[in-house]
C-alpha cells in the first residue's frame, strides 16, 4: 500500500503540472510484457561464433606455461586469444576519470590473482565446442600464498596481491593508503562522553543477480567499424573502455544497448565487450561472449565485503558527540570501482546525523578474491547497516526510544556535515515521524513537534577546530610534503562568519517548548565562503601516478586530482 503525504512540504512544491507526477504507463511496457523487447542477447547473426574463457582454478598462482595445442585442434575452434593478443592488456575502469592506475589484464599472462580469472579465450562455432576446447587448454600453475581477509592483508608480511599496489591498499592522493575524514576532535570528545560504545560489523559479498547475465555480441560492420550489442549500464563508459583496451578510435565502435535485463551495478565493468570485439576483429565474424549463471555468480564482480568498526561517544540526553569509524572494503584482486566506493562511504559518514566530532579511515584493500564492483548503493548500504544497528544499541544503552534518539540527532537544514558542506532540503525528522505514525509507534509530543526546517544551523553550522594526523601506513614512494605533524590542529577552513546562533534543538528526553518561530534555516547557512578545495599544489605530478594508457579521459578525477 502506498500513500502520498502531500500535506508535508506542500509550500515547497507547485503540484500544478500536466505530465510530471502522473502515473503514466511505461513507453516500453507492451514490448516487455509480450516478450518482444529486444535485449542484447536476442541478436542471432549469421556465422556468429561463441567465446568462452579458460579460468584460473587457483586463488593465486604463477603461470608457468600455457599449452593450447590440443585446444587448437578441437572441433569448431576458430581462434584462441591470449593476453598477448590484447593490444592494451592492462586497464582500470576509472582511468577514464584519471582515478587510479591500470592494474587489471583482460587475459592473465604471468600470474593469476583470483579464482576464476580469465587466462585464455576460446572462440568456436558453438558454445559447446568452445567449452570442450576450454577443457583441453593446459595451464601449468605454481600456486602462491593467498590472502582473503582484509585485516590480514594489511599485516606486514601478508602476500602482496596486486603488483601495482604492493601493500594491498589503494593509494589516495598519491600519499595515503586510505581515505581520511577529520572533523573536530573525537578523542577529546570520547573523554567527555557519558558512554562510549565500540562495535564491529561485517557485510557479506553479494551478487547483483540480474536475470540477464553479463555479455556482449560484437560483429564487423561495414566501413571498418564494429557493432556491439551490449547490456552495459554505461554505454559510453563501456565504449571508451573497449576503445582503450583495443587501441581503437572510439568512432570505430558502434554500441547499441540501453534496454537491460537488470543491472544493479553488475554491468559497469565492461569485461565482455573488449574480448567480443577483439574476437570479431581477429575472426571477421560476429562473436558472442555471454557469461553463464555460474560465471555470473562466481566470476563476475560482486558487491565486495565490508568491515566496519564504529566507536561512538554519547551523552545521557541522547546527543552523540563523537563518532569514529574504520572501514575496510574488500576490493578483491583488482581495483574496478572499490576505490570509489570507499570515497563514497567517507562522503556519507557519519550518516544522516549531526555529530560535532567525526573521524574516519576507509581502506580499499586488495585480497585474492573476485574483484568487487558497484552494487546498489555500495559504499553506503553497508555503512547504513552498521550505523543503524549501532544507533539501536546506543539508544538501548542510554535508555532512550530509538525513534526519538534518531530525531535528537537528525541533521537539519543549515547544519554542517562532516565533509564540510551545509545541509539543505533535509527530511529525516519527518520520515521518522511519519513511519512512527504508520507503525503506531508512540512518540512523545516533543518528538512530534520537531522539524527538519528548524533547529539547524547556528552552532551546528560551525566547522570545529579539527585535529589532524598523518596516521596510516604509507604506500611505497610516499612523500611527506604537505602533511602536518601529528597532533597539530588545522584552522577551521571555511571560516564561518559569526551567526546569531539558533539554539540546538532541545533534547527530546527532557521535553521543552520548541522555539516558536526561528528564522528560516536557509538564512543561517553561512555563505559558501572559502573555495572548495584549497591549494597546496604538489610541486610536480609524479610520472607513475599517470594512468599508463588512458588516452581518453572524461574528466580529471575524483580523489587524486591535482589542485
Amino acid at each position: 500500500m502506498l500513500e502520498f503525504r502531500k500535506d508535508l512540504f506542500a509550500n515547497e512544491r507547485d503540484d500544478n503540472l500536466n505530465e510530471v507526477g502522473k502515473p503514466t504507463q511505461r513507453q516500453d511496457m507492451a514490448g516487455h510484457v509480450t516478450g518482444r523487447t529486444p535485449f542484447f542477447d536476442d541478436h542471432r547473426l549469421d556465422g556468429m561464433l561463441h567465446l568462452k574463457c579458460v579460468r584460473s582454478p587457483h586463488h593465486s598462482a604463477r603461470i608457468r606455461s600455457i599449452d593450447v595445442s590440443a585446444a587448437e585442434r578441437s572441433p569448431g575452434v576458430r581462434r584462441i586469444l591470449r593476453g598477448a593478443d590484447v593490444p592494451v592488456n592492462l586497464n582500470t575502469l576509472l582511468s577514464l576519470l584519471a582515478f587510479g592506475e591500470d592494474d587489471e589484464p583482460s587475459l592473465a599472462t604471468d600470474q593469476v590473482r583470483y579464482k576464476g580469472e580469465p587466462v585464455v579465450a576460446i572462440i568456436a562455432d558453438s558454445e559447446r565446442e568452445a567449452w570442450e576446447a576450454v577443457s583441453k587448454v593446459r595451464v601449468a600453475y605454481d600456486p602462491l600464498p593467498a590472502v582473503f581477509d582484509v585485516e590480514e592483508a594489511l599485516k606486514p608480511g601478508a602476500p602482496s596481491v596486486n603488483p601495482v599496489y604492493t601493500r594491498n591498499t589503494f593509494t589516495y592522493h598519491d600519499k595515503y593508503d586510505h581515505v581520511k575524514l577529520r572533523f573536530g576532535d573525537v578523542e577529546r570528545a570520547f573523554q567527555e562522553a557519558d558512554f562510549v560504545l565500540e562495535e564491529r560489523y561485517q557485510m557479506s559479498p553479494i551478487e547483483q543477480a540480474p536475470i540477464e547475465t553479463n555479455g556482449a555480441i560484437a560483429a564487423p560492420e561495414v566501413n571498418d567499424r564494429y557493432i556491439v550489442y551490449t547490456c552495459a549500464q554505461g554505454l559510453f563508459f563501456s565504449l571508451d573502455t573497449t576503445a582503450k583496451i583495443l587501441d581503437l578510435p572510439s568512432n570505430k565502435l558502434h554500441f547499441i544497448g540501453g534496454t537491460v535485463g537488470g543491472g544493479f551495478g553488475g554491468k559497469v565493468d565492461s569485461l565482455c565487450e573488449p574480448l567480443a570485439v577483439l574476437g570479431a576483429m581477429l575472426t571477421g565474424r560476429p562473436v558472442r561472449y555471454v557469461l553463464n549463471r555460474i560465471e555470473e555468480m562466481q566470476v563476475s564482480a560482486p558487491r565486495g565485503a565490508e568491515r566496519h568498526y564504529i566507536k561512538d561517544g554519547v551523552m545521557r540526553d541522547g546527543r552523540i558527540i563523537a563518532r569514529k569509524m574504520t572501514v575496510y572494503f574488500d576490493c578483491g584482486a583488482y581495483t574496478r570501482l572499490t576505490s570509489y566506493g570507499a570515497l563514497k562511504c567517507v562522503a556519507h559518514l557519519p550518516g544522516p546525523y549531526t555529530i560535532p566530532n567525526v573521524s574516519a579511515d576507509a581502506y580499499c584493500v586488495f585480497t585474492n578474491r573476485i574483484p568487487a564492483t558497484a552494487m546498489r548503493g555500495f559504499g553506503v548500504t553497508g555503512v547504513d547497516f552498521a550505523i543503524e544497528c549501532q544507533m539501536d544499541k546506543l539508544a538501548h544503552l542510554i535508555g532512550m526510544d530509538p525513534m526519538e534518539f534518531r530525531i535528537v540527532n537528525a541533521y537539519r537544514d543549515g547544519d554542517v556535515k562532516a565533509h564540510r558542506e551545509h545541509a539543505s532540503n533535509t527530511a529525516l525528522v519527518e520520515c521518522v515521524q511519519v513511519a512512527a505514525e504508520k507503525a503506531s509507534w508512540p512518540l512523545s509530543d516533543a518528538a512530534r513537534a520537531q522539524s527538519s526546517l528548524t533547529g539547524g544551523g547556528g552552532e551546528r553550522a560551525i566547522i570545529p577546530d579539527t585535529r589532524l594526523d598523518d596516521g596510516g601506513v604509507r604506500p611505497a614512494g610516499w612523500r611527506p610534503e604537505g602533511t602536518l605533524p601529528p597532533g597539530t590542529r588545522a584552522p577551521s577552513r571555511p571560516q564561518v562568519t559569526p551567526q546569531p546562533s539558533a539554539p540546538r534543538p532541545p533534547p527530546i528526553a527532557a521535553p521543552q517548548p520548541t522555539p516558536a518561530s526561528p528564522p528560516p534555516a536557509q538564512e543561517q547557512v553561512p555563505a559558501p565562503a572559502a573555495p572548495q578545495t584549497p591549494t597546496p599544489p604538489p610541486a610536480q605530478s609524479q610520472p607513475q601516478s599517470q594512468p599508463r594508457y588512458a588516452r581518453t579521459r572524461f574528466s580529471t578525477v575524483f580523489g587524486t586530482r591535482r589542485r
Binding site: 500500500m1 500513500e3 502520498f4 503525504r5 515547497e12 512544491r13 500536466n18 505530465e19 502522473k22 579464482k115 582473503f148 592522493h173 595515503y176 581520511k180 575524514l181 577529520r182 560489523y201 559479498p205 553479494i206 551478487e207 543477480a209 549500464q233 554505461g234 554505454l235 559510453f236 558502434h254 535485463g261 537488470g262 555468480m297 562466481q298 565485503a305 562522503a347 550518516g351 544522516p352 578474491r369 573476485i370 548503493g377 553506503v380 547504513d384 543503524e388 544497528c389 544507533m391 539501536d392 525513534m403 562532516a418 565533509h419 558542506e421 539543505s424 532540503n425 519527518e430 521518522v432 513511519a435 507503525a439 579539527t466 577552513r493 572548495q532 578545495t533 584549497p534 578525477v557 575524483f558
Partner: protein, 352 residues
C-alpha cells in the same frame, strides 16, 4: 520452543548521483515534421523506467502530451554522451539534461508559432494538449503539428534542442576529507516487524511500515514499483544473500538461484509506504530518485527487530538461521529486552 515477535526501525539518507560531480549527461530533442518529438539519449533503461521518466519530463517541458514524445535510447551513433545508469543518478542528471534540451526546442517551437500567429513569442503558451495559443486569448491558437509543418517547410527552422547537465567536479581534501560529494539527499525511515523461530533460527518478516522522502515523485506508479521491489531486495540482503556464506572463507559459494537464496513469494511481507516529497532545488521538477536507497533501511531495521524479538545482536550479514541459532545458544535462549519502546509488539510477545 517458540516463535518470538519483535520490531525494529532504521532511518537513513542517501546521496543522489555519483559523488563529487564531473559526470555529465546529455540529451537531444527534436520534432519530426508533424510535431511528434524524439528524445535521443545514450542513457540506460535497466528496468527502472529511464525512458518513461524522461518522456514525461520532456512532455512537461515542451508543453505537449506525453503521447507525442518518444524516447530513443541507447545507440552510441545517435544518442549523445551519458555517464550511465548507476549511483541513483539517472533521474537527476538525465532528467535535467532533458529539461535543458526540451527548453531549447520549445523556444524554437514558440518562435515558429509566433511567426504563424503574427504575435510576440513571449505572449504564447502551451495547453499541454497539443495546442499553442495567445495567453488570455485561447481562440488565437495553432496546433503543435501545424507549427512543426510550418517550421519545417515554410520557415526553415529546426525545432530541436540540446541539453547537458554537469555538476562540476569537486576535489577531496586529503587531510580532512572536505568535499562536495553530492547536491541532494533522499531520506527514509522504516519499521520492520519480524518473527523469530528459536527452534529453527528462521526469521520471517511479517510487516513493514515506511516513510520515504524522494523529492517530487515524477511518476507515482514507478516510485511504488521501486519502493516495493527495493524493500524486497533489502529483506533479501538482510536475511538471505551471500556469495561467500563463510566469508572470508572462499568455499561454499552458490552457483545458481537454487543455492543463491532470495525471499520467494511466500516470504514477501506486506509493506505500507508513505511517500514524502520535498523537492530538490536542482532536481528535475524537484525529483531526486528512489533508486538504490529504498533497500537500505530494511537491513538494519530487520537486525534491530531480531534483537527486539529474542535479544541477540547479529552484526554480520546475512542473518542466516545458523547465525540466529548460534546467537541464541550462546545467550542461553531467547531473552527479549525489557524495554518500553515501539509500542506493543504485534499480536503479543511470543507464541508457543
Amino acid at each position: 520452543m517458540a516463535k518470538h515477535r519483535g520490531r525494529g526501525m532504521a532511518a537513513i539518507n542517501y546521496p543522489i548521483g555519483l559523488n563529487l560531480g564531473g559526470d555529465p549527461s546529455q540529451a537531444l530533442v527534436h520534432s519530426n515534421p508533424t510535431g511528434k518529438f524524439t528524445v535521443a539519449l545514450s542513457s540506460i533503461d535497466l528496468g527502472q523506467g529511464m525512458k518513461s521518466v524522461t518522456r514525461q519530463i520532456a512532455a512537461e517541458t515542451l508543453g505537449i502530451p506525453v503521447d507525442d514524445v518518444y524516447v530513443d535510447t541507447a545507440d552510441s551513433d545517435t544518442g549523445p554522451h551519458c555517464m550511465g545508469s548507476f549511483a541513483s543518478r539517472g533521474t537527476h542528471r538525465v532528467g535535467n539534461a532533458v529539461i535543458a534540451a526540451a527548453k531549447e526546442a520549445r523556444g524554437v517551437m514558440m518562435e515558429a508559432a509566433a511567426e504563424e500567429l503574427e504575435v510576440d513569442a513571449g505572449d504564447l503558451e502551451t495547453d499541454g494538449k497539443g495546442n499553442i495559443h495567445v495567453r488570455g486569448a485561447p481562440h488565437r491558437s495553432i496546433t503543435v503539428k501545424e507549427v512543426a509543418i510550418a517550421a519545417q517547410f515554410r520557415q526553415g527552422r529546426t525545432i530541436s534542442g540540446r541539453g547537458i547537465f554537469l555538476i562540476p567536479m569537486s576535489g577531496v581534501d586529503p587531510e580532512t576529507g572536505a568535499m562536495k560529494p553530492v547536491t541532494t539527499y533522499a531520506h527514509a525511515c522504516l519499521v520492520a516487524d519480524v518473527e523469530v523461530d528459536d527452534e529453527t533460527g528462521d526469521v520471517a518478516v511479517l510487516k513493514m511500515n515506511s516513510a520515504y522522502e524522494l523529492g517530487r515523485a515524477l511518476n507515482p506508479r514507478m516510485v511504488e514499483q521501486q519502493l516495493v521491489g527495493g524493500a524486497w531486495m533489502g529483506m533479501s540482503h538482510a536475511l538471505y544473500e551471500t556469495t561467500e556464506p563463510y566469508y572470508p572463507d572462499r568455499d561454499h559459494g552458490p552457483s545458481d538461484f537454487n543455492e543463491y537464496l532470495m525471499p520467494g513469494p511466500g516470504d514477501i511481507a506486506p509493506h505500507d509506504i508513505a511517500v514524502l516529497e520535498r523537492p530538490a532545488a536542482d532536481g528535475p521538477f524537484g525529483g531526486k530518485g528512489p533508486g538504490e536507497m529504498c533497500a537500505n533501511p530494511v537491513l538494519p531495521a530487520v537486525a534491530n527487530a531480531i534483537f527486539n524479538a529474542v535479544g541477540i545482536r547479529i552484526d554480520e550479514l546475512p542473518i542466516t538461521p545458523e547465525k540466529v541459532l548460534r546467537g541464541l545458544k550462546s545467550q542461553g535462549g531467547a531473552k527479549p529486552p525489557q524495554v518500553p519502546f515501539g509500542g506493543p509488539k504485534p499480536n503479543g510477545a511470543a507464541r508457543p
